[in-house]
C-alpha cells in the first residue's frame, strides 16, 4: 500500500478520474477529424495513390514530409529525457514523462505516414518476407522498430511505481477496468528496495541504450534521401543535420505539450519556469546548431553551382519554393529572436512606457503591410494607384525600421512572459521545421536531372491525412494522460527530497510507505515549497 500526499493526489491523480465537457468536446472533434481522415484513406486505398497530388517526377510528397517531421518530433522525447537523465539534470523530473509519451506517439503516427505512402499497403509484410537490408528503407525499418520498442519500454518503466500508486489510491467509484488496468501495469509493484534498485538500474541502462538508437533513427531517415544521387540530397551533412533538426523540433513539440499539460492539469507548481528556462537554453543551442547546418548545407550548394544541384537551390532561393524557403528562414530567425533577445534586454526597458505589446503590434502591422506591398508586384487598379507614390526603396526602409521597432518593443514583454515566449518560439520552430522538411524533399523531387520541372501541390487527401495524423497524435496524447499522471509522481517526490537536502551532509532515505500500524498516512499535509 503506497501512499501519496493529499495535495499531490488532488493535483496529479484526481484529474485522471474526472473529465469535463471540454475534454469530451475535444475528444469528439479529434475523432471526427480522424474519421474524415479514415474516409479519405479508404478512398485512397480503393482508388490508388492517384488521389494524392503526387505525380511524375514528384514521386514523394507530403506523406514523406510528414514522416520525417513526426519521426523528428519523436526525438523530443526520449533523447531529451535520456540525455538529461544520464547527465543527472534534476529539473528534468516533471517533464520526462511528457517527453517520452511524445516519442512513442510520434513514432506511431510517423510510421503510419509510410503506410499512407505505400502504393500497395496490402503487401506491407513483404518488407519482412523479402526484406533487403541493402535498402536504406530497411535500415529505417530496423532502426524505427528498435527505437519504438525501446521508447515504449523507456516510457513504461517509470510508469510502474506510479501505476502501483494509482492501484493503491484509486478513488471510490472508479471503473473496474481501470483498477484492473493499473493492477496489471503495476506488475505487482510493492516498492521495496530490491525493486527500486532493479528499476533504477534498468532505467539507467535504457537511457544509455536509447541515445545511439535515437541518433541512428534520424540519421537513417536522412540516408534514405542522401544515399540516392538526386541533386540536393546527396550530401554528407544530412545525418547530423537531420538529427539536430529532429531534436530542435522535438523540443518545440515538448514545450507545447508540457504547456498544454500544465494548463489543463494545473501543474504550475510542478512544471515551473525553471523547466522552461533550462530547456530554453538547450533550445537556443539547437537553434544555433541548426542555423549552422542549414547554412553549411546551402552554402556548399551555392558555391559549387553544380548543373543539377543549383536549380534546386535556385528554386528555393528565388524560384517556386522561395516562399516556403524564406518563410522557414524568417520564422526560424524570429524564433531565435524570441528565444535570445529577451536574455539580452536590460531590465530598464521594462519600465519604459513605449515598449508595450500594443505599440509593437502597431509597428509590426505597418512593417508587414510594407513587405506585402513589396511582394505583390505588377499590381493593377486601386492598389497600383496607392502604391505608385511609394517606390520600393521607401517600402523597404519602412518595413525594416518598423519591423525593428516592433521587435525591440516586444522584448520586455517576452522577457516577463517566458512561457508565452517559449510557446511562440516553439510554434515558429514546429512550422519552420515542417517547412524545412518540405524544402528538402519537394524541390529535389520537382527538379530532377532529366525530366521537365514538375509541380507538386498536395491534394485534399494529403491535407486530410495530415490533419488526421495530427489529430491522432493529440488524441493518443490526451487519452494517455487521462490514464497516467502527466508528471512522474515518484520522480518528482524523489526530486523534492534531493532538492531539500542538497545542502545537508547526508542524503536521507525515502519515507517508508508501510503503514506503521493504522491506515492513517504517516505524514500530514505538509506542503512542500518547491
Amino acid at each position: 500500500m503506497l501512499r501519496i500526499s493529499k495535495h499531490d493526489r488532488e493535483i496529479l491523480l484526481d484529474p485522471l478520474f474526472h473529465a469535463g465537457r471540454k475534454f469530451y468536446l475535444m475528444i469528439s472533434v479529434l475523432i471526427l477529424i480522424m474519421l474524415w481522415g479514415l474516409i479519405m484513406y479508404v478512398r485512397q486505398f480503393v482508388l490508388g495513390l492517384g488521389t494524392t497530388g503526387m505525380e511524375r517526377p514528384a514521386y514523394w510528397g507530403m506523406y514523406m514530409v510528414n514522416f520525417i517531421f513526426f519521426i523528428g518530433i519523436s526525438h523530443a522525447g526520449t533523447l531529451i529525457s535520456a540525455i538529461l537523465r544520464v547527465s543527472n539534470a534534476e529539473w528534468r523530473r516533471p517533464i520526462t514523462r511528457i517527453a517520452e509519451a511524445i516519442t512513442a506517439f510520434a513514432l506511431i503516427v510517423g510510421t503510419l505516414q509510410i503506410i499512407f505512402d505505400l502504393g500497395r499497403p496490402d503487401r506491407i509484410l513483404y518488407l519482412f518476407r523479402f526484406g533487403r537490408l541493402q535498402s536504406p528503407l530497411l535500415w529505417d525499418a530496423v532502426s524505427v522498430t528498435a527505437y519504438f520498442l525501446g521508447s515504449l519500454t523507456y516510457l513504461y518503466l517509470p510508469i510502474i511505481p506510479d501505476a502501483a500508486l494509482l492501484r493503491d489510491n484509486i478513488p471510490e467509484g472508479a471503473p473496474a477496468w481501470r483498477q484492473r488496468l493499473y493492477k496489471l501495469m503495476a506488475l505487482g509493484w510493492r516498492g521495496n528496495r530490491t525493486q527500486w534498485l532493479r528499476l533504477e538500474k534498468m532505467i539507467a541502462v535504457m537511457a544509455v541504450l536509447i541515445i545511439p538508437v535515437a541518433v541512428s533513427v534520424h540519421t537513417v531517415i536522412s540516408w534514405i534521401l542522401a544515399t540516392t544521387v538526386q541533386p540536393g540530397w546527396h550530401s554528407t551533412v544530412f545525418g547530423p543535420y537531420f538529427v539536430v533538426g529532429a531534436i530542435f523540433s522535438g523540443i518545440g513539440a515538448l514545450f507545447i505539450a508540457m504547456t498544454a499539460a500544465r494548463r489543463s492539469f494545473h501543474l504550475e507548481e510542478y512544471i515551473t519556469e525553471r523547466q522552461y528556462r533550462n530547456l530554453g537554453y538547450i533550445f537556443i543551442t539547437m537553434a544555433a546548431i541548426w542555423f549552422y547546418f542549414t547554412y553549411a548545407e546551402h552554402m556548399t550548394q551555392a558555391a559549387g553551382q553544380l548543373t543539377a544541384e543549383f536549380p534546386v537551390l535556385a528554386s528555393k532561393l528565388w524560384g517556386e519554393f522561395s516562399f516556403t524557403f524564406w518563410t522557414m528562414v524568417v520564422i526560424m530567425i524570429m524564433a531565435f529572436i524570441v528565444l535570445v533577445f529577451p536574455l539580452l534586454t536590460p531590465d530598464s526597458w521594462q519600465r519604459s512606457r513605449v515598449f508595450r505589446p500594443r505599440f509593437a503590434l502597431a509597428n509590426g502591422v505597418v512593417s508587414v503591410l510594407a513587405i506585402l506591398a513589396l511582394l505583390v508586384p505588377q499590381t493593377q487598379g486601386v492598389t497600383a494607384d496607392l502604391l505608385s507614390g511609394l517606390p520600393s526603396p521607401t517600402l523597404r526602409i519602412v518595413a525594416g525600421v518598423f519591423g525593428t521597432v516592433a521587435i525591440l518593443s516586444i522584448l520586455p514583454w517576452l522577457k516577463s512572459h517566458i512561457i508565452d515566449a517559449m510557446i511562440i518560439a516553439s510554434g515558429f520552430v514546429l512550422v519552420g521545421m515542417w517547412l524545412e522538411r518540405w524544402n528538402i524533399v519537394v524541390p529535389t523531387m520537382t527538379h530532377p536531372r532529366l525530366m521537365p520541372v514538375g509541380l507538386y501541390t498536395p491534394s485534399l487527401t494529403e491535407w486530410s491525412l495530415f490533419a488526421a495524423s495530427t489529430a491522432l497524435f493529440i488524441f493518443l496524447f490526451v487519452l494517455f494522460f487521462k490514464l497516467i499522471p502527466a508528471v512522474s509522481v515518484w520522480e518528482v517526490r524523489e526530486g523534492r527530497v534531493i532538492d531539500e537536502t542538497r545542502d545537508s551532509a547526508q542524503m536521507p532515505l525515502p519515507e517508508s510507505s508501510r503503514p506503521p500500524g493504522g491506515l492513517q498516512p504517516a505524514f500530514g499535509d505538509n506542503e512542500p515549497t518547491y
Binding site: M1, L2, R3, I4, L127, F128, R129, F130, G131, R132, L133, Q134, S135, L138, A141, V142, T145, A146, L149, G150, T153, I160, P161, L165, L187, G188, W189, R190, G191, N192, R193, T194, Q195, W196, L197, R198, L199, E200, M202, V489, W490, E491, R493, E494, V497, I498, Q506, M507, P508, L509, P510, E511, S512, S513, R514
Partner: protein, 71 residues
C-alpha cells in the same frame, strides 16, 4: 566499378546485403531480442516483489542504494 567479388570477404558482404529475407530476419531477431530483454527485466521487477523486505517506498532516493534494506 563494383565490389571486388573475387575477394571472399567482400563477396560475403555483398551476398549478405543482397540476400532477400535477411532484412526481415534481422528485424525479427532484433525485435525478439529486445522483447526478451524487456520481458526478463520486467520479470525481475515482478519477482522483486517476492523479496522479503518489509519496508516499501513510494519513491526512491539515491540513499536507497547504500541502504542495506533492513530498518
Amino acid at each position: 566499378m563494383n565490389f571486388p567479388l573475387d575477394n571472399p570477404f567482400y563477396h560475403f558482404v555483398y551476398q549478405l546485403i543482397n540476400t532477400a529475407g535477411i532484412g526481415g530476419l534481422i528485424v525479427i531477431v532484433e525485435t525478439i531480442l529486445i522483447l526478451i530483454a524487456v520481458a526478463l527485466s520486467l520479470r525481475g521487477i515482478t519477482n522483486g516483489a517476492k523479496v522479503d523486505e518489509p519496508e516499501v517506498y513510494a519513491y526512491p532516493t539515491p540513499a536507497l542504494h547504500h541502504h542495506n534494506g533492513q530498518d
